[in-house]
Each structure stands twice: as structure tokens, then as C-alpha cells.
């Protein structure tokens, strides 16, 4: 267990946004909130999964909703604390640590906010290693761990406990309906995990990974080196395409931001175009109808110059972008994992083939 430093907050936000693969919501507001809490004298400790006792109670939190909504309806840290405390009351336990369900995007910072207010450590792990739009798209779901109960808090003093659900998919459907009803943004505490479960099925070291990506970007920017290249080196990633945004089509349905964007090639990629589909996150890159990269490989759209990630809700005509791919956590690419997070889980009728296995 070690102190999480104030100087790590910004790199965490930058790295988490890259790991968000277009979704997960911008970590900027969480970053501001956490900075504020640190300034008020609150701090957070980071604990490695191996340091957890087998019977430790770990809260798994997230802010749920459509990323575009998060740009307008800013979530207060206190609401997340309400969701966690509701879970403590419902289960009659006290939590020993808190972790994020999703390291990609704003949810990387959510556990830190609750942790700062509650005096709990944050676990250096998550259950996706990136961002995904749905509850069954986690390593815990892939491992068939219990999916209930779930607590959900809304700003208007609406509080919901989903006591049981028949499957992860049902948990997703029920909690999503509630989330949409309260404005497509809500603070949730997912099914609590034991220390043993986090050790066995969590995706480890992802907070550290996000901070390292952020540090690489910031260092490259300071030294006027190419930040995109710095990310590729840090993550041993793969360059997919360089171009500019030509068209963006979005629709907010059932609490998701769905759509596609057309990228027109520049430089070495001139006279080529790629299409990227998204459901909150980028799910599929294709050229002339042929898939190039598919989920769960991480598809990141970065600002070509600054290296900063561009979200599905901030894509805009004319932006110059570089598309890169990064490796998914091994559990996601197992046959069981692909059932949950492979291309078919997003309605794409193609098989997963990692760009890293060729």
C-alpha cells in the first residue's frame, strides 16, 4: 500500500482517457473533483490486489450512463458515497477497499473520489482493463461471479437496490432502465467482491498502467517529442491509421451513444478511408468493409498532435486523428471472454482476430 500522489492525478486522467477507447466519459470532471479533495487535505492510498486479505470486502463502483450526458450533468462525489453506503447498509458489512469496474475514462477516478471521502484505499485493478458499455462486459462476469446486489443513487434522492438478477445481462437491462429513467447518469455500487475474487479475476495494475501512459504523454509533450509515438512505445501498441474526421453520425438510444465515424487518410494513408463503429466506445475499425481492428483489442483515437484521446462524443468534423490499437487483457480474449466482449457482443458479424497475432 502506498500513498497516491497529487502529482499522479493528472497522468491518471490522461491515461484513463486513452484506455477509455473513446468512451467511459472524459475524466476531466473527476480530475477536478479529486484535485479539489486533495487541496482540502484528503488523500487516497493505493493498494495492490495481492495485499488484500482473501476475505476483504471490496466495493466496485462506477458512474453509469451516456458519455454526452456526463458533459452536462456533472456528478458530485457525495452521490457515489451514497451508493457505497447504501450497499454497506444493505449487506451489513463495512468495506475495506474500493475499486473501479472500469479503468477507461471517468470511472478510473470515481473510486478515488469515494475513497477520499470515506478514508478507504483504492485497489490497483479494475474489471475491464479499458472501457466497455455494459455490466456483463467485465472480467467478473466472464468468470461467472455473482452479479447482485447493485445499488444506484440519483441526485434527486432516488435510491434503488437491485436485490437479485437472473444473469449479468439481466442486471445490465434492469439497472440500465433505471439509469435511463433518472437521466442516463447515475452512481452505482456493483456486486461487492472479496479480496480473493479480486486477486483471481480482477485485471491487475491498471491504475499504475494509466498513470504510466499519462506520464509518457506528458513527458513527450514537455520534450516536444511525438506523444502518439510515446504511447505506442509505452504500451507496445500498433499504429492503425492517420487521417482526419470526415463524418460523424451519433444517436443516443437506450442510454448509449451509438454511431459511426468516417476517417479520411492523410500522409501515408492518403486516398484511403476507414470507418469506425462505436457504442460509447470504439468497437470496430474497417476499411472497404473488411475489419481491421475489432473489440476487445483497444481502439484509441488520438489527437495527432497532442496525443490526447478523443471521445466518441467529442469527435468532430476536421479533427486530425491517429488511430492506434493496444492489447486487451488476456481474460477478454478467451472464448468465454469473447462471448461477452467480442465483436458479436456489439452486433458486428465478424470474428475477433487480434491485430497483435499475425
Amino acid at each position: 500500500m502506498r500513498q497516491f500522489l497529487e502529482s499522479e492525478i493528472e497522468p491518471l486522467a490522461i491515461g484513463a482517457w486513452v484506455l477509455g477507447t473513446g468512451g467511459g466519459g472524459s475524466p476531466y470532471h473527476g480530475f477536478l473533483n479529486l484535485k479539489k479533495l486533495y487541496r482540502e487535505g484528503r488523500t487516497v492510498k493505493l493498494i495492490a490486489p495481492e495485499e488484500l486479505a482473501d476475505d476483504a470486502n471490496v466495493a466496485v463502483v462506477s458512474s453509469m450512463g451516456a458519455p454526452m450526458v456526463g458533459l452536462e450533468r456533472l456528478t458530485d462525489p457525495e452521490i457515489l458515497v451514497q451508493a457505497v453506503q447504501m450497499m454497506e447498509e444493505y449487506r451489513g458489512v463495512k468495506f475495506d477497499a474500493i475499486m473501479s469496474v472500469e479503468i477507461g475514462g471517468g470511472n478510473a477516478i470515481q473510486p478515488f473520489l469515494a475513497a477520499a471521502l470515506m478514508g478507504l484505499p483504492v485497489v490497483d485493478a479494475d474489471a475491464m482493463g479499458r472501457a466497455f458499455p455494459e455490466a456483463q462486459m467485465t472480467s467478473f462476469a466472464i468468470a461467472d461471479l455473482p452479479m447482485f446486489p447493485l445499488t444506484l443513487a440519483d441526485v434527486r434522492d432516488n435510491a434503488v437496490v437491485v436485490a437479485r438478477a437472473a444473469s449479468w445481462k439481466w442486471m445490465e437491462r434492469i439497472s440500465r432502465k433505471v439509469c435511463v429513467e433518472v437521466g442516463s447518469v447515475a452512481s452505482t455500487c456493483k456486486a461487492p467482491r472479496t479480496g480473493r475474487e479480486v486477486k483471481d479475476f480482477g485485471i491487475h495494475g491498471t491504475v499504475t498502467q494509466a498513470v504510466a501512459i499519462g506520464n509518457a504523454v506528458q513527458q513527450a509533450q514537455r520534450e516536444h517529442r511525438d506523444p502518439v509515438q510515446a504511447i505506442l512505445e509505452q504500451e507496445d501498441g500498433k499504429l492503425v491509421f492517420v487521417g482526419r474526421v470526415w463524418d460523424v453520425e451519433r444517436r443516443t438510444t437506450e442510454g448509449f451513444l451509438r454511431g459511426k465515424t468516417l476517417i479520411d487518410g492523410l500522409g501515408d494513408y492518403r486516398d484511403q478511408q476507414i470507418l469506425i463503429n462505436f457504442q460509447n466506445e470504439y468497437t470496430l475499425v474497417s476499411r472497404n468493409g473488411e475489419p481491421l481492428v475489432t473489440t476487445p483489442d483497444l481502439i484509441c483515437v488520438l489527437d495527432t498532435v497532442s496525443g490526447e484521446a478523443i471521445g466518441t462524443e467529442t469527435l468532430r468534423y476536421g479533427q486530425r486523428v491517429t488511430v492506434i490499437a493496444m492489447r486487451a487483457a488476456p481474460i477478454l480474449t478467451t472464448p468465454k471472454g469473447l462471448e461477452h466482449v467480442g465483436p458479436r457482443a456489439f452486433g458486428h458479424d465478424v470474428n475477433f482476430k487480434s491485430v497483435f497475432q499475425s
Binding site: K36, R73, R250, D303, R316, Q319
Partner: protein, 519 residues
């Protein structure tokens, strides 16, 4: 059709007279603290150079005045900030991500009140009109003259903001109100930032436009006048006075548009060498390429669309280190006419190097004849290398590009540069800013809810209407270009409803860019 373009920069106020596509005359006068006398002086010079300047059909003024006010934290009003959001958005107070000194200059009095809209158009909670009225009274009692109102999801539904504005204006007579839906897009904090920036510049906007008006009157020129906007179009002055934030990026936009107009080059690099900096931008189809995502103004995050620029601390007034070829970033700025060696001063500046090398012909050449040739060559080499680096950064492909040199320090740009196929110097390149202002364009905008049609049809319909409006406004149909196209689905309305926003711009009819570039 004759037009006057004026650019009020930090150092110089430039004025040009355009007759159709021809630059009749271009002059420079020093910018003054009161702005007005500098404008008057430049117009007097222009009249001397071209007596027909008295008879023009329009005057376009571009100014970096409002940006400078924010950057220098002066002439800012105290702002009453109302955010209609509760019970959401309470933990991050308004202006929370502003630099401390700018926040201190604006002394915000902030109120969070209940209300706002969900993404689908429903109320979060009903608007708390009592709280707005209470806030209004406190704002009135504190003697605050400007109010910024931001409601959650107001770009989707603006009625909360409009109702709040009504109440404020009822209670606080004569107060200047900016509503966020008028100036920004989705993204609460950034939109609120822009709204507060606009509000704090309220009085400054009105006074500046009044000063311009007086200057024109003193100069004896009677014609409609316009302020140039961030996107290279113009807004009628009285309207522009209410929205100073829309003029924030007009300086670099004008210089790049002027470069395109004078050279006839539509795609290439523009390098504007001023007194303190060189700004390098990239033209795409005659427009400045825009920066991605968040743009900071005076340290404040905004979602403005701004030209993508690289700025180097290299200008005509840049200091040269005694011992080596280091240029800038310090500059003598507006003191150049007194400080530089060629003008009898005692400071070695970039202008002295330019004169010594025979690139520029200003001041007294004999005053720099003693300079060491190796120093002069080393300085020029260092400048060339830095410019080459910057050009390389802006390029999107390895092919060589044309570079258009503009600004008062344009002669300092070397003729041969790596990565550049040709350096284009222009006869009136020194006043490209003012030319850009004078050749500003007409826009047509549509912002409407479409329903019962698919997305393609909704966008096509809106584009057609925007084109029509631009043509009605005097734009040349063949030059119309879409600069902004955006659609947001509105789930709570039936029939695949979406809000569609399209903006097109075009040259004024009867105008064509000059094609024969002077070299």
C-alpha cells in the same frame, strides 16, 4: 465596390482600401492605448494615400482587443454567475478551473439554482424562479453590471435560460446578460466559461464599438461597419458588441485569410511575422485549419473553434543575445522605433539583423555596419531552422508546401527553406491582417429541429436553407463552403427528431481572390 479593412493589433493599427479585388492602399499607424486615436491616425494616412477612401460601402474591423483584455486581466466587469443545475453539478463551482488571478479580476458572485434539462428534454426539476429572483436582488445590491446564465443542456432547450434572463432584467435594470445557449455548445463547464468571459467583457465590448464609431466619425467616413469573427466572417458592429468572445481569434484568422486572398493560394503554410512572435498556420481550401478540441484563452478552457497555430518567439522586435545566435522570446515590442540600433537605439533586435543582412530596408543601415557577419549569419540560420521545424509540425504530409510570408517582419523569412517548395512574398503582405478583415465573408446559418425525415435529408435540407440565407446576405453562390455541420438527436420528440446546425460561408458576390501573386 470599395471596402476598408482595419486591423487593430497589439503593436500596429493597419488599414487597407480594397477596390473589388485590388488593394488600392495599405498603411500602418501605431496602436494607441485608447485604440480610437490609432484608428483615426491610420484612417488619416489611408485618406492621404487614397482620397477615394472616403467613399466606401463597408468597413470591417478586426481586433485582438478583447483577447488582450482577458490575457492582461484588465477592463473586466464583475460578473454575477447563475448556473441552473441543482440538484446536479454542485461540487464544481463556476470558474473552478480558471487561473486564480483571472478569477480574482472577475470577482464572480455565483449562484446555483434548481432547474435544467435532461438529455431527452425533460426537466431535471422545475426552475426555481424564487431563487433566481433572490440572486437577482443580491446582484443588484452588489452593483454588479454583468450576468452570465448557464443551464444544464441549454443548447437543447433554452427556455430556462430565457426565463431567468427575464427575471434578472426585471430586477436589475440595465444589466448586461449573456445566456450560454447563445455562445456555446454541449459541455457545461466550457460553455459556462465562455458565457462568463463574454459577460465580463460586456462593457468593454460596447465601449470599444463606440470608440470605433467615433473614430470613423472623426475620420469623416460614413459607412456601415462590421467586426470580424473567429471564423473569418463579419457581424454587424452593434450585434458584435454584445458578443466580444466571437472576436477572440479574429487576428490570426484575418492574417491567414488575407494571405490566401492576396496570394490566391488556397492550400499552404502561412507565416505571419509580427513584432514579438511568428504565427505559423495552415490553409486548407482558403481557410485556417482549426485546432482540435479544447482551446484555452487566457488560461480558460473553451470549446471555441480556433485556427491551429504554432507560435514562435521570433519577431522584428525580438532581442538578440549578445554572445550567440539566440533570438527572443523577449521583444522590445512597440518600442522598436526607438530601441533598435537602426533607429539610433541601443538594443540589438531582429530588425537590425535583417537590415545588416540586406533583407530589410528601414532606419539607418550604417548603424549596423559594424555587426559581425558571422553573428548575422548564425542568427539567420537559427531563425530558418526554427521556422523549418514549425512548418514541419504543421504539415500533414511529407511533400513540400508553399509558404506565404506576411506581417511586418515578412522579409525576415528566408527564400529557401527545407520542406518548402516556394516562399511567396506579397506586395501588401505587411498588412495581410487588414486585407483579411476587408475581404471577410458572409455567412448563412440554420439551427433548427428536423423531424419526420432521416439524417441525410435533415442535413441536406438545413444546408440548402443555410446556402439560401448566405446568398440572400450577399454571398457568391459558387464560393459557399460548409464550415460547421452538427446534429444532436432529441430522443423525447417523436419522429427521429434531431437538432441540426449548419453554417456556410462565402465570398461577397462580385469578388474573386487575386490570382497573380507578387513575388
Amino acid at each position: 465596390m470599395k471596402r476598408i479593412g482595419i486591423d487593430v493589433g497589439g503593436t500596429n493599427t493597419d488599414a487597407v482600401l480594397l477596390d473589388a479585388k485590388r488593394v488600392v492602399a495599405g498603411v500602418k499607424a501605431p496602436t494607441t492605448a485608447d485604440v480610437m486615436s490609432g484608428v483615426v491616425a491610420s484612417l488619416q494616412k489611408l485618406k492621404t494615400a487614397a482620397p477615394q477612401a472616403l467613399d466606401v460601402s463597408a468597413i470591417m474591423i478586426g481586433t485582438t482587443h478583447f483577447t488582450n483584455a482577458v490575457v492582461e486581466r484588465r477592463n473586466l466587469m464583475r460578473v454575477g454567475v447563475i448556473r441552473i443545475c441543482l440538484p446536479t453539478c454542485a461540487s464544481l463551482e463556476p470558474l473552478c478551473d480558471w487561473p486564480d488571478d483571472l478569477r480574482a479580476a472577475v470577482v464572480p458572485m455565483s449562484f446555483l439554482v434548481a432547474g435544467g434539462t435532461e438529455y431527452d428534454g425533460r426537466d431535471i426539476v422545475p426552475l426555481d424562479e424564487g431563487a433566481i429572483r433572490e440572486a437577482a436582488m443580491k446582484i443588484r445590491d452588489a452593483g454588479i453590471g454583468a450576468v452570465a446564465i448557464t443551464a444544464v443542456f441549454s443548447p437543447l432547450r433554452n427556455d430556462f435560460e430565457l426565463r431567468a434572463k427575464e427575471i434578472i432584467e426585471e430586477v436589475c435594470k440595465g444589466v448586461l446578460v449573456t445566456c450560454s445557449h447563445e455562445v456555446g455548445r454541449i459541455g457545461l463547464l466550457e460553455r459556462e466559461n465562455v458565457t462568463v468571459l463574454n459577460a465580463c467583457l460586456g462593457k468593454h465590448g460596447i465601449e470599444t464599438v463606440r470608440a470605433f464609431k467615433n473614430a470613423l466619425w472623426v475620420a469623416g467616413i460614413d459607412a456601415p461597419f462590421y467586426l470580424t469573427q473567429n471564423d473569418g466572417t463579419v457581424l454587424q458592429a452593434d450585434t458584435a458588441a454584445r458578443f466580444p468572445v466571437f472576436s477572440f481569434a479574429s487576428g490570426p484568422t484575418n492574417s491567414m485569410r488575407g494571405a490566401a486572398f492576396l496570394s490566391g493560394i488556397e492550400d499552404g503554410v502561412v507565416c505571419d511575422v509580427g513584432g514579438t512572435t511568428s504565427d505559423i498556420g495552415y490553409l486548407v481550401k482558403g481557410f485556417p485549419r482549426e485546432a482540435n478540441s479544447v482551446v484555452k484563452i487566457g488560461g480558460v478552457r473553451t470549446l471555441f473553434r480556433m485556427p491551429d497555430l504554432v507560435s514562435l518567439g521570433i519577431g522584428g522586435g525580438s532581442l538578440i543575445a549578445e554572445k550567440g545566435p539566440t533570438v527572443g522570446p523577449e521583444s522590445v515590442g512597440f518600442r522598436l522605433p526607438q530601441s533598435a540600433l537602426v533607429f539610433g537605439g541601443s538594443t540589438l533586435t531582429m530588425t537590425d539583423i535583417g537590415v545588416a543582412a540586406g533583407l530589410m530596408d528601414v532606419g539607418d543601415k550604417s548603424l549596423v555596419s559594424h555587426l559581425d557577419r558571422t553573428l548575422v549569419q548564425a542568427v539567420l540560420k537559427s531563425v530558418r531552422e526554427r521556422l523549418e521545424d514549425a512548418v514541419d509540425q504543421m504539415k500533414t504530409s511529407p511533400e513540400n508546401v508553399e509558404l506565404i510570408a506576411v506581417g511586418g517582419g515578412a522579409p525576415l523569412i528566408p527564400e529557401i527553406m527545407e520542406g518548402v517548395s516556394r516562399v511567396v512574398h506579397l506586395e501588401h503582405g505587411g498588412v495581410a491582417n487588414a486585407v483579411g478583415a476587408a475581404s471577410a465573408m458572409i455567412s448563412g446559418e440554420v439551427d433548427q429541429i428536423a423531424s419526420g425525415v432521416d439524417r441525410d435529408k435533415a442535413l441536406a435540407d438545413a444546408e440548402e436553407l443555410a446556402r439560401l440565407r448566405a446568398i440572400e446576405g450577399g454571398a457568391d453562390e459558387t464560393t459557399l463552403t460548409i464550415v460547421d455541420i452538427e446534429d444532436v438527436p432529441i430522443a423525447y420528440l417523436p419522429g427521429n427528431a434531431r437538432r441540426v446546425r449548419v453554417r456556410v460561408v462565402g465570398e461577397i458576390a462580385g469578388w474573386r481572390p487575386q490570382t497573380d501573386a507578387a513575388e
